[in-house]
């Protein structure tokens, strides 16, 4: 394709926009941390370095993230093997159930765990009664609680990536290994595992970064245990703004260092695609007792995985103040759901989250599509830079971006590219948009790369001008990628908690903030009902994206 001047201008504009949205706020944070009322100062950096609590928080973030990777791998990898290699009764349903934690937005997952394993949770009370204990058998607090939630929600990365890699294994590899006299273990060690390294590396990186950025679990369950994300929010609440900036920089530094150390293990979007041959058949489990044991294990595991969802559903039917010490709620009602619809104050967060997420999704898809087309198809100068900027927010925890945007857009200085957006309707969609850029652009970039450039050329020789080619050829073919990108973006924005807690206003309060305030008022029923709505909408949007994606 010819590098046209128009593409170059569009690309340059996009580049500027991305620098302004993605890089500039981070730079401002860096500056604010070393600037006091009387100019440049290292006072806050020194303050940060001198406080043991800061080091505890940083260390807490680091080690819980590493531990989360180990736990998630220990659960996810064997599951992937079990379901991809063995033919179990109900295996297809099971393998779908196993991915279910993905439809729980972080905050919703956390409150479901609270209802289950908290001091008065179902499981805790059950164990307490069974063992006739005076007190709950455990306290869902501190690092252990955080790790439990992380393991539950993040093993899915290992499960999905390793499953995809296993499905991409050519059956003839196994036949070749067998014909060369390799036994089952040697085949596993020398053939299967090396093939899985990219998937394992990718899942580890994904888990580490997600865990480092995790906010909901430490915020609700942390107690005295410090991690950096919650530390930043607490410091900011204390009014120590400049110190919060230094903390933000330190967390960013940790994230970028991790990314740099694990570079090269980013999951490539088409790791499983494009290879010849057929996936290996699932092995039948011939021994009947073994088959029963495996099936029982798999199904009880699926039960455990589904418990949070079911709990949420159950609690959402509990009327306010009726459930105290009984193991199961004594009364059930639809009131909580009716309130969400009928009470204008309660309905507001639903409407808010819907329009906020929609605006952010549409904008993210538009920017990602534009970036992908000018970079991949028009091959403009600076295209790689655009791709890099689109991906950058992935490397930076959500809390950091929230703080950065809160800093950049808290003053009105148009000549410096800063506008007063904090406290207005527009700061949340902007924050969601920035956070959504990486996942959206990853899906869309992969789609655009997979497009055969000669389709454009064919359309040109057939006399179709640029707009007709875009409308008739490019967009219809990109539909699966656009839908996948959009559904991921929408689900993330719809359930967002980490950026909302820093940037929301009363008028734009999203569902997550309303869940939090319902919990504070002990209105667990309404909190759970919101949670169920989030869960159902996320699930439906995921299903839509996946179904349309595969149909195209």
């Amino acid at each position: 394709m010819i590098r046209s001047r128009r593409s170059q201008i569009i690309g340059a504009t996009l580049l500027l926009l991305l620098v302004w949205l993605v890089v500039y706020p981070l730079v401002l944070v860096l500056i604010e941390g070393v600037r006091g009322p009387e100019g440049w100062t290292l006072e806050y950096v020194r303050l940060f370095l001198d406080r043991p609590t800061e080091w505890q928080a940083l260390w807490g973030s680091l080690w819980t993230s590493l531990a989360s990777v180990v736990l998630a791998a220990v659960i996810g990898v064997p599951l992937a093997f079990l379901f991809s290699r063995y033919d179990l009764p109900g295996g297809r349903i099971l393998s779908a159930l196993v991915a279910l934690p993905a439809v729980l937005p972080p905050l919703v997952g956390v409150i479901a765990f609270m209802f289950l394993y908290g001091e008065t949770g179902f499981v805790s009370l059950l164990v307490q009664r069974l063992l006739r204990l005076q007190e709950p058998p455990w306290r869902l607090q501190g690092a252990g609680a955080i790790l439990l939630v992380h393991a539950y929600s993040m093993y899915v990365y290992f499960y999905l990536l390793v499953s995809a890699a296993l499905a991409g294994l050519d059956a003839s590899l196994f036949e070749a290994a067998a014909s060369l006299g390799a036994g089952r273990w040697r085949t596993l060690r020398r053939v299967v595992l090396p093939h899985l390294y990219p998937a394992l590396g990718g899942a580890a990186l994904l888990t580490f970064m997600t865990s480092l950025a995790s906010f909901s679990a430490p915020y609700i369950f942390g107690g005295g245990f410090r991690v950096m994300t919650t530390q930043i929010v607490a410091t900011r609440l204390n009014g120590e703004n400049a110190l919060a900036m230094v903390e933000t920089v330190s967390l960013t530094g940790l994230a970028l260092t991790a990314l740099w150390l694990l570079r090269g293990s980013q999951p490539s979007s088409n790791a499983a695609g494009g290879r010849k041959g057929t996936a290996p058949e699932r092995l039948p489990v011939s021994s009947r007792p073994l088959r029963l044991v495996l099936a029982a294990l798999a199904w009880s595991l699926a039960g455990v995985l589904l418990l949070p969802h079911l709990t949420l559903l159950l609690v959402s039917f509990v009327p306010l103040g009726t459930w105290t010490t009984e193991p199961l709620p004594p009364e059930y009602t639809l009131r909580n759901y009716l309130t969400l619809v009928q009470d204008p104050v309660r309905a507001r967060p639903l409407v808010n989250s819907l329009w906020l997420a929609t605006v952010a999704t549409v904008a993210a898809v538009a920017l990602a599509l534009l970036g992908a087309i000018v970079s991949v198809r028009r091959r403009i100068r600076g295209g790689r830079l655009i791709e890099g900027l689109l991906a950058l927010p992935w490397a930076v925890p959500g809390t950091v971006f929230a703080i950065a945007l809160a800093t950049a857009f808290s003053v009105n200085a148009p000549h410096a590219g800063r506008f007063l957006l904090v406290g207005t309707l527009w700061i949340l969609p902007l924050a969601y948009l920035v956070r959504n850029l990486p996942i959206t652009s990853r899906a869309i970039l992969a789609g655009v790369r997979a497009l055969d450039p000669s389709l454009d050329e064919a359309a040109a020789t057939l006399g179709a001008r640029r707009w007709r080619t875009l409308r008739r050829i490019t967009l219809p073919l990109l539909r699966p990628a656009l839908l996948a990108g959009a559904s991921l973006a929408f689900v993330t924005a719809f359930g967002d908690f980490v950026t909302s807690i820093i940037l929301y206003t009363y008028d734009t309060r999203p569902i997550s903030m309303e869940i939090l305030s319902s919990l504070r008022q002990s209105d667990v029923g309404v909190a759970a009902a919101y949670g169920v709505v989030l869960m159902l909408v996320s699930g439906a949007v995921f299903a839509l994206g996946a179904e349309r994606g595969s149909a195209g």
Binding site: D452, E457, T461, L462, G463, A464, R472, I473
Partner: protein, 357 residues
Amino acid sequence: MSFLALDGLVKRYDGTAAVDGVSLALERGEMLALLGPSGSGKTTTLRLLAGFEIPDAGRVVVDGEDVTRTEPVARRFGMVFQHYALFPHLDVSENVAFGLESLGVRGEELGRRVAQALALVDLAGYERRRIAQLSGGQQQRVALARALAPEPRVLLLDEPLSNLDPTLRERTRREIRDLIRRVGITTVLVTHEQDEAFELGDRVAVLRQGRLEQVGAPDDLYASPANLFVGGFVGRGSTLPVTVLGTVERGVRVRIDEVEWDLERASAQPAPPPGPATMLVRPEALRLAQAGPGALPATVTGRRFVGPSALFTVLAESGSLIEVVAPPRAVKIGERVGVMPSRRAGGGIHLFPPESR
């Protein structure tokens, strides 16, 4: 005046010329094959013709109109892509209709012309098929129908047969040739297969490293290659270092190893100067004989059966490998033989300056 003219086309990428001063002229309705190894600039030349690339120098003129800088959209050149580039989300008739719609053809007229184009490639009744449901050969015919439906001024084919099974290629080659003849459209095709170039091209243009080496009818290229590259690329042949001793009656005398041959000179070629030279010799221009005076001693190292005759590979004592056609059972592998020019070798032996490759 020719219908389509390429005039001194130059295209450079990062300083190196992919196309380096190519000039060609086609009459209306002529088929020209661009033949060359990969990297010879044949595909770039085709893309310059289609308008996907703008040349750094030179012009493309069609029917008296300079289209060098005309966008592909406005050029009205039809193209069949190497991998066909059919629109996978549109069915067969929607693909074929795409170019007609650009011209503003609508309604009944559109349906009529789509049907006409599909009938031309023998795919009537396939209108509603999805592209993925078609065989490779059918996809190629859809691509042809799609390119031809808007009645372009020039048809461009990029390696039209490379995506087909070898068994299908020969038949498809004939079909394409007959179809293009019937339509009578001026056609340029790119290929690296000489069989394809010879069957589809009225004339063949041989390219190497962006330069045009020779243009001519297939038999002319074979019978009188302009240089060693064309001679070696077009048809089979062995190259041998020789020494030209001087002219003799109706020919030249050369020495190969320790043997001297008198060669009848092909008419068009100028007499080579005495001294070292490279000889290109077609397998059918040699014969196997008893070792003896005038025969180049060699050992038979290989045999390939090709129907009524066999292609023998023999190793001369100087280390040169030579291909010779002979009856299938003439000699055995390992046998020592002599190689001589056959009695009517004139058209099959060419002398070029040494190392002119």
